[in-house]
């Protein structure tokens, strides 16, 4: 398994602390990698509230409050599901920021998925209201399962850094 990008995680730490923001994570296809990355440097408990890996639909509904009908129809993979997971993480951990990841780490011909594809979303909670900051689609043509999980994790961290740098 590859190590997380410690340079990016360190920059993230600096920005989150400077801006007095906390973060939580809800993962499906990245299966804990994002949480592991955020927790890979010391002092992360100052801003990293925690996270959940909600791998199946039941857990996504029960833990994160995602819309059952939509998720069932989309096999839990859509921009909306990623957004609802990010929003669910914000609520569950009462954090300022939330990240959600969902997708196909490998081809899934049953669902017409010929190459890995995933979505991640970043939400922000402000005075009890949770707003979508961004939602992105990530392609992983030719990537193996673990490579795709790590790629999505790296993309989410990069997007979060860009957002924080723009504040």
């Amino acid at each position: 398994m590859h190590s997380p990008d410690l340079d990016a995680i360190t920059k993230l730490k600096t920005l989150l602390i400077q801006q007095n923001l906390t973060i939580a994570v809800a993962e499906s296809m990245t299966c804990g990698r994002l949480q592991a990355a955020l927790g890979s440097i010391s002092g992360s408990s100052d801003y990293f509230e925690g996270g959940v890996t909600a791998y199946n639909l039941r857990q996504k509904i029960e833990l994160l409050g995602i819309d059952k009908q939509h998720a069932e129809h989309m096999n839990s993979v859509s921009q909306l599901v990623a957004h609802e997971m990010a929003a669910g993480a914000c609520s569950l951990f009462d954090s300022d920021l939330g990240i959600g990841t969902t997708g196909y780490a490998e081809p899934n011909p049953e669902h017409k998925i010929l190459q890995p594809v995933a979505y991640f979303a970043i939400c922000r909670q402000n005075r009890g209201r949770i707003e979508n900051i961004l939602t992105e689609r990530v392609h992983g043509d030719g990537l193996e399962r673990i490579e795709m999980q790590e790629h999505v994790c790296a993309c989410a961290i990069k997007a979060l850094l860009s957002y924080l740098q723009g504040l």
Binding site: H70, L80, E84, A87, K112, I113
Partner: protein, 140 residues
């Protein structure tokens, strides 16, 4: 915009996002697809050619603006843009972000009931994201 009134079927099936210079922008209440509709705010039009010469380029500009925003937001495999109007005669232009993995692919989305309504918060999220993407071009 004198005399313009949204067709009751569109009113029933969609959320109103707001108004551009020419068109009212709607979100179809079907979470299976990111599906938006432009309705020129002109009374009693059923076809694009019936728009005035001044309005025709406006419709194209607003369609391109919406399409570009949708592509940025949804990174679709294809945008389906069409004026059909077989059931709702009022002139309206569908803009649907399509994915190879979506429920209807590769067929068109029309005539694939039942719709899957949005949870309220999800609809609000879609609308607010698009408003931000459209920026100053979004007038009300």
């Amino acid at each position: 915009m004198q005399g313009f009134q949204l067709h009751p079927r569109l009113e029933q099936d969609c959320f109103v996002v707001g108004n551009l210079a020419l068109c009212q922008l709607l979100l179809m209440n079907d979470s299976r697809y990111p599906w938006f509709i432009l309705v020129p705010r002109r009374a009693e039009l059923t076809e694009i050619y019936q728009l005035s010469e001044a309005d025709r380029p406006l419709l194209l500009a607003e369609s391109c603006l919406l399409a570009e925003s949708l592509q940025t937001l949804y990174q679709a495999d294809k945008l389906n843009i069409a004026a059909i109007g077989n059931l709702v005669p009022q002139l309206h232009l569908h803009h649907v972000a399509r994915y190879r993995s979506d429920a209807a692919w590769p067929a068109p989305v029309w005539g694939k009931p039942p719709a899957l309504p949005y949870a309220q918060s999800a609809a609000e999220m879609q609308i607010s994201r698009l408003r931000v993407a459209l920026g100053s071009n979004f007038i009300t």
